[in-house]
């Protein structure tokens, strides 16, 4: 079964999720994984759904109008767990150009796969928290390289094992 990768973004207002989910449900699209969040007053949805063609989903979403920008693309199902152990990288410091680019390039260089990442800018403070799957034998190397990057960027970077407890 094919999957659709859908993004919707627009100025935040009450009812965006309801409108989008209803439009998709009406054409028989089944939502699987999604994230939906508000970014500085814009509401952003990224979701994967199954059960309809890209044309049907596009048709359902274009009628929403109202400043909502939607994209739909067919993708191959992929549910591969990445190898390695989960780590957390926290970055905070004075905002400047290229913090995300520099930090994530270092992570990628050590073979770290970013599975989730959030950034927030509040006043002059820039905060980044990334979840990274990484081979444990490269953790020390990455920590050292992040310390170098932190010094160059003038920010604080902390890297530690993410705890996951099974209850």
């Amino acid at each position: 079964m094919h999957e659709l990768a859908i993004t919707v973004i627009g100025p935040d207002r009450t009812g965006i999720v309801a409108d989008v989910a209803e439009a998709l449900a009406d054409v028989g699209a089944n939502l699987t994984d999604s994230t939906m969040t508000r970014l500085r007053g814009h509401f952003a949805m990224t979701l994967v759904c199954t059960g309809v063609s890209a044309d049907e989903a596009t048709g359902a979403l274009t009628v929403l109008g109202d400043g909502l920008l939607a994209t739909v693309r067919q993708v191959e199902p992929s549910d591969q767990a990445t190898p390695g152990a989960p780590y957390l990288v926290s970055v905070h410091g004075a905002d400047r150009l290229g913090i995300v680019a520099a930090v994530t390039r270092v992570v990628a260089g050590a073979g770290g796969n970013i599975t989730d990442l959030t950034t927030r800018l509040t006043g002059p403070l820039y905060v980044l928290v990334a979840e990274v799957d990484l081979a444990t034998e490269r953790a020390e190397e990455l920590a050292e390289q992040l310390a170098v990057a932190a010094a160059e960027l003038g920010v604080e970077i902390t890297m530690r094992r993410a705890e996951s407890e099974l209850l």
């Binding site: 926290s90 905070h92 989730d116 509040t122 002059p124 403070l125 905060v127 604080e156 993410a162």
Partner: protein, 164 residues
């Protein structure tokens, strides 16, 4: 005293140990308490937050709904966590990161050792719940750590709500 906010460099710099009998440290202790009291809802304040690189902080969680054991208002110098157990997640904020809160795992039961300003008397505080969290947060400040360095995941930082 003015409370500094991130990204002030001193907030990310490990603070120096202090001589608790130094009159300047006794004055600093009093200033911390005064500044904490002047900020509504403030339950703790560490010297680096007021721009002083010193391992001194005050805590007062009296009356806080999440507090169980409380020791009133007190100041500790050169404090260390010597025992920590019962790790629990919880959401915390900080006067030095005024726009964000974060989910941080902290020990819900701790034993903390430190020195009282003035006398230099060594004291041991055994506590739990919210007072334990506050102590760990303040001891982190003295080590140049913010809660941002300990958040539990990419979705564990939150923009603080402003109620109008």
């Amino acid at each position: 005293m003015n409370v500094l906010t991130a990204p002030a460099a001193i907030l990310s710099t490990p603070a120096d140990e202090v001589d608790p009998a130094d009159p300047a440290i006794v004055r600093l202790a009093a200033d911390l308490i005064t500044t904490m009291r002047a900020a509504p809802g403030c339950v703790g304040l560490a010297a680096p937050q007021v721009g002083v690189s010193a391992q001194v902080f005050c805590v007062d969680v009296t009356g806080h709904p999440k507090a169980v054991t409380t020791h009133g208002a007190f100041v500790l110098c050169n404090a260390k966590v010597v025992e920590a157990s019962r790790w629990r997640p919880g959401r915390e904020g900080c006067m030095s990161v005024p726009d964000l809160t974060g989910d941080v795992k902290r020990a819900a039961r701790v034993v903390v050792e430190g020195l009282r300003p003035g006398t230099g008397e060594s004291i041991t505080i055994t506590t739990d719940a919210f007072e334990a969290r506050a102590l760990q947060h303040e001891i982190d400040h003295c080590a140049g750590k913010l809660f941002l360095d300990r958040v539990a995941g990419a979705h564990a930082i939150h923009v603080r709500k402003v109620y109008l």
